[in-house]
Symmetry: C2
Subunit: 293 residues, 2 copies
């Protein structure tokens, strides 16, 4: 069993991006500039946005954090988005989700200029992904493809089971891995809450991507010897042996699955750290595309 | 074995649309108006467009055929599209594919206003489909969903194998049938040219949608008893017993598969006739949405 080390891999990607940025600076070019809009003071959201800003600093990007109060109206948020769409200084930007309940998330995502939508959530980017056209891939699926590639895991013709049909992980993952691409050309089955006899699918799978949000759901008796496991889940599980009273667990029962796996992502330190690295990659890509125009 | 009669079903759908249109006319409302752009004189394309115009007449739609010579430049075609985008008389329009080789198909499809894109090929519509948001569904997958619904074929929790990953049939079919919807909630596997041990997938499938463009590829020994078969293929196969020297065949070997099937689409007369009916449904939908605005 070998760990798919997302922390190390994301570090390598960030180093590569930093090299490109320092080249840009040598050539007197402005570095890429990412903006993030945060509405409200949700703790997790503040942590995520903070980590993104810090990652920008690390690779030499410029970053702007637009911090709006929780009672911001949809109208004002849409005006901020419009400003960023038209600000030639900004290469890409994100609106940190979830948004307060009085704001229509789809309306907000739709307002972002697809050419600056480095989260890849705009319908036009999702459509371009589905049609296998150049686009910004959503960060989590993009990070998983990158992990599979860098660990040279063969996917062509393999039996892949994607568990969970969310718009940001399961669905795009199932589409991407069956396309003609690196880390693609797989035979993909998308399983979900309505699937009957789930184990019949997972037991024959060569690669399983688990993104269902139920801690330690996938157990050792549900997988075959040599399986590759990508665990997207991360939840707090009560644990009396820990000082703070909990530990972080994935959607996979690591103790029973890892002995049978050829490769497996740890939680934490697997898929999670890849996400921010891929957001930076998308921002660099946005910058480079603007340059070409 | 029961035939999924696309000819009869599409006739019923057209009758339903005609009723809605005559209600509109009673209320002094303009009927829906579909425009079609045809570039060049390709025989099959002319036949298809002709059938679409005829179907419009049948249900009481207005229709406009814009017939451009084969040497039309991309620039002129884009200007025609722009005109239709801005013509308040036109509810929806299509550009008949394929286009002459000197024209960039993606550029043309992207130029169509997504709100008038009744073929559902614009990236924004494809993205909205993938995200399960209101959109125009592409006609062939839409027609298959409608057939499954009207014949009350249970899909929830069923093992569905979609054969072929084309942008206009296989890919959207695989997405739609695994979404939470009527004729959805299935466990879908998308198989394609790189799939290993194809029969292992097809032999356990409850429903198989075949869209690979290889005549009579799926044989009786590749399916289980009671399977539901949707055959999207249609090709001419040499046949000395026929006057014109050929017969029409699907991607399924009807003689060996139909005795095992619970339901099966004939070729011709299955999926084919549904396509135009769904284009009309999309045009009616475009008209109704514009009314709301």
């Amino acid at each position: 069993m070998k760990l798919l080390d997302g922390k190390k891999t994301s570090g390598a990607i960030k180093d590569e991006i930093a090299v490109v940025v320092s080249e840009m600076q040598k050539n007197k070019q402005k570095p890429p500039h990412l903006a993030a809009i945060l509405v409200g003071t949700d703790g997790a959201s503040m942590t995520y946005v903070g980590a993104k800003v810090k990652a920008c600093e690390f690779v030499g990007f410029e970053s702007t954090l637009i911090d709006l109060p929780a009672n911001t109206t949809e109208e004002i948020l849409l005006k901020e988005i419009d400003k960023l769409n038209n600000d030639t200084n900004i290469d890409g930007f994100i609106v940190q989700l979830p948004l307060p309940k009085h704001i229509d998330e789809q309306k907000v995502l739709k307002a972002i200029d697809p050419d600056k939508d480095v989260d890849g959530f705009h319908p036009t980017n999702v459509g371009r992904m589905t049609l296998d056209l150049p686009c910004f891939l959503p960060a989590t699926p993009y990070g998983i493809l990158e992990l599979l590639e860098r660990y040279e895991i063969e996917t062509s013709g393999k039996d892949v089971v994607v568990m969970g049909r969310s718009h940001i992980v399961g669905r795009p993952m199932s589409i991407l891995m069956s396309q003609k691409r690196k880390a693609g050309n797989a035979t993909v089955t998308l399983v979900h809450s309505r699937t009957k006899d789930l184990a019949a699918y997972t037991q024959k799978a060569d690669i399983i991507v688990v993104a269902i949000g139920i801690s330690e759901f996938l157990k050792g008796n549900m997988v075959k010897e040599g399986v590759v496991i990508i665990d997207v889940g991360i939840t707090r599980v009560p644990d009396a042996t820990k000082k703070n009273g909990f530990r972080l667990a994935g959607d996979v029962e690591f103790s029973s699955v890892s002995p049978k796996a050829s490769f497996i992502t740890p939680v934490p330190g697997g898929v999670g750290p890849m996400t921010i690295a891929m957001l930076l990659k998308n921002t660099l890509l946005a910058r480079q595309r603007r340059q070409v125009k």
